[in-house]
Amino acid sequence: MDVEKELSALKARVDELPGAENKLSMVVFSGDLDKQIAAMIIATGAAAMGMKVVMFFTFWATAALRDPAKKVSGKNLMGKMFGFMLPKGRNNLKLSQMHMAGAGTAMIKSLMKKKNVASMDQLYEIAAMLGIEFKICEMSMDLMEMKREEMIEYPNMEYCGVATFLANAKESAVQLFI
């Protein structure tokens, strides 16, 4: 029997096994500030551990990737409403609890600053530096009438659908939904 051949066949099978890659695939679904901070900290931590990291932004989370400085026109009424009601970018997210008309969120942000916890801006900067990939759900964008022109500049960002997430998740050692 050809041992070399057997070995390479076996290796090919192992490579095909789910979860074989040192990689984290994360769905970021929530638009809450606290959950998004957790997602960014886990993602940057994983990248520091030498893992490849892919973050899929879908539904409410998508609004965090809007750039408040960018204005777009040509939206219909529903699109305008969503545009107005959804947070404009990562610095306008609210806490999932104790938001208290903005007082709670402001307090957490000031505590984070005081305790030197990385801000959302810093976390995004680190994520870009560590090569973390952002993938944005095209369907959420379409549903809420967000346009690509109103999204932030980020080095590793692309638009995709569920199959892209699943293909990444299947080969990842760690998968999370936040």
């Binding site: 940057t44 931590g45 520091a48 551990m49 030498g50 030197n116 680190i126 530096m129």
Partner: protein, 79 residues
């Protein structure tokens, strides 16, 4: 007495999670393979996190020394 000498100090004092390991992952290359670096941290999470980081990345934590208000971690670059 420890049988190693730290060739460089990485000062991560005042930085909370995840910054100590994020910085370590970026700066470990400042020492050569086989050399030992001394990490200064004030984040109590570092005591558990550096061994976990080393285990995953293939480096080695030789020693963790706790002083009042300061944690010293000795990390050997393995690859």
């Amino acid at each position: 007495m420890a049988d190693y000498t730290a060739v460089k100090t990485f000062d991560y004092k005042g930085l909370p999670c995840p910054m100590p390991i994020v910085k370590m992952s970026q700066e470990i290359s400042r020492i050569a393979v086989g050399e030992v670096g001394e990490v200064l941290s004030t984040d109590p999470g570092s005591i558990a996190d550096f061994p976990a980081w080393a285990k995953t990345t293939g480096h080695q934590v030789l020693d963790i020394v706790q002083e009042p208000g300061l944690i010293k971690i000795y990390v050997k670059r393995v690859k």
